[in-house]
Assembly symmetry: C2
Homo-oligomer: 197 residues x 2
């Protein structure tokens, strides 16, 4: 379908996408503290008013930019079930390590973390849109492994997902060591040893 | 020893302590975002200038307040070595769960986390003064357990400390579930199962 007249809804969606892209690029380049709404507006080619119409704060824009990027890459939320638990979890943990180790992600991830952990409303949204779905597909895969006898019948699945993601997140946030596939694999081995007993 | 003339060094130390106490109380009461230097100065009974002379920002004051409180309670950094690894680690993990579950700590801890993870200089100071010493005494206790055969001879101690502290921190930051002694004990059991194999 072609249109000869401009479509306000489509133009609006284009502006929204431009703002989110600009925010993601800028926070990766200059960090959250030095990011300004002015700079986002300039790079996106929109007025500051356009941004303030949709988002109450710089934190809210960055947060939405991060969620949009994560949701676009949401193939990672389909945790496979090949019958080999180690292989399936490795397929999530290795890309997670890659993402956390990516310097382009680092600033954004830290800015997002700072916003999310100090703002209960943002934390709720982050959990609903991103974290809880990830934890739930992981628990679901572990549940299936528990039923097939790959892990202990009394394995605590809430604890198990925290053991899988918590140490890597802790290492990343505090800069404790490299985040590579070797680390992801050692972490996974350790957690599986614990779950199999 | 009594003095009849005022002692500037002592008065200065008294002001510093008053500022740190006021900052710790206020951040717990109102959260970091709504905390102001004015409010800290008013409660501490000092001028704003006194605060700005010693600290460049609100974040720096809160950070120092947190470190001062942690260093005062630094008995927890003496990790016992009774020969019973589970008992010794339980003596650290249970109080850690208590601290994270304390509503009075929660705001301060979140504000501190937000500052630390987005400011490389603060992260360095946090690691040097607080995190690295904690991780090192824990590694030291695990090293002794490795030598006595309580855990596997090839246990990865860097990973082990992340397995001990990471999941609890992850649960706390994201509000994933209760932080009580039962949780601390289940976490510890899981990590020890992994280390013993």
């Amino acid at each position: 379908m072609t249109r000869s007249a401009p479509d306000p809804a489509r133009r609006s969606e284009r502006s929204r996408t431009a703002v989110l892209t600009a925010a993601a690029e800028l926070v990766a380049e200059v960090g959250f503290a030095r990011l300004t709404i002015e700079a986002i507006a300039a790079r996106a080619g929109v007025g500051k008013q356009t941004i303030y119409r949709w988002w109450p704060s710089k934190g809210a824009v960055v947060f939405d930019a991060f969620l949009a990027a994560s949701e676009n890459a949401s193939g990672s939320l389909d945790l496979p079930d090949t019958g080999d638990l180690a292989a399936d979890l490795r397929a999530v943990l290795r890309p997670t390590a890659d993402e956390l180790a990516d310097p382009g992600f680092d600033n954004t991830g830290r800015a997002l973390t700072a916003e999310v952990v100090t703002d209960p409303a943002l934390l709720r949204e982050y959990r609903e849109r991103l974290l809880d779905p990830l934890l739930e597909v992981t628990r679901e895969r572990l549940r299936s492994a528990r039923e097939s006898g790959e892990i202990a019948p009394d394995a605590d699945l809430d604890l198990a997902v925290e053991l899988l993601y918590g140490p890597m997140y802790y290492r990343w946030l505090h800069g404790l060591g490299p985040l590579d596939h070797g680390y992801a694999d050692r972490l996974l081995d350790a957690v599986l040893r614990s779950l199999r007993t």
